[in-house]
Amino acid sequence: MDVTFYISAAVAVLSTILVIASRRPVHALLYFIVSLLAVAVMFYVMGAPFVAMLQVIIYAGAIMVLFMFVIMMINLGSDARGSDRGWLQPSAWLGPSLLAAILVAEVVYILAAAPLPSASTVEVTPAQVGQAMFGPYVLGVEMASLLLLAGLVGAYHLARRRRAVTPAGNDAPDALEEKLP
């Protein structure tokens, strides 16, 4: 099991380097998703399957989709014509696919080497996490829910487009609004 940890650590570090070194935000996003998946494999190997699932579903799923939506909305105005062709070039998806293939091979190896972990082999079971979360940490969970509500209201308020005099180009918001549905 050790070797899978170190391989996924190497994948995480490599893809993180490629995140901060890539020129286009979409490429960086793909590499960052691979980095998150690699860290999820590390979580699983370290005996935290619940957190590994959270990492895949919430981080690599929901939060990265949010990033992708914003990148797509911003790209709509400037260079939307050639974007499809840019996506299909191997330079966009070959690197992340190779790194993700390494992770898939690791997961297959883990599942083949051992059956699905039962409650006795996992270091910290999801039941323990739940008992801690809704036992001593219940106030923190409530505060987290309040934080999510505040973030929801704040994001709505900030992202709303209002008619205001902008410092740079007063007809810029109108031009974008015609392109966006």
Binding site: V45, L54, A155
Partner: protein, 104 residues
Amino acid sequence: MTMTTVPMNHALAVAAVLLGLGLAGLLVRRNIMFTLLSIEIMLNAAGLAFIAAAAHWRQADGQVMYFFIITMAAVEVAVGLALVLQMYHHLRTLDLDAASSMRE
């Protein structure tokens, strides 16, 4: 089958490397998208350190802390991306140096 034979020091070293990479990206890149991604990298590294500690001491508290970190990251991304949209609508660019009017 023993799940954890990985020493905590190695996991913490990986977390430190990831945090350093995120900090480097935060300092080097001037695109606001990369700034947000670098902050996410650093938050993820902090979560990795928590999970390493939780696995070492076999306590659930580290995973609860990771849950809080992921909640905070989700909220931060939502508000940050709303700010990105506003900045793009106002300035027509994602360059952070274009939004330095408070400095001058």
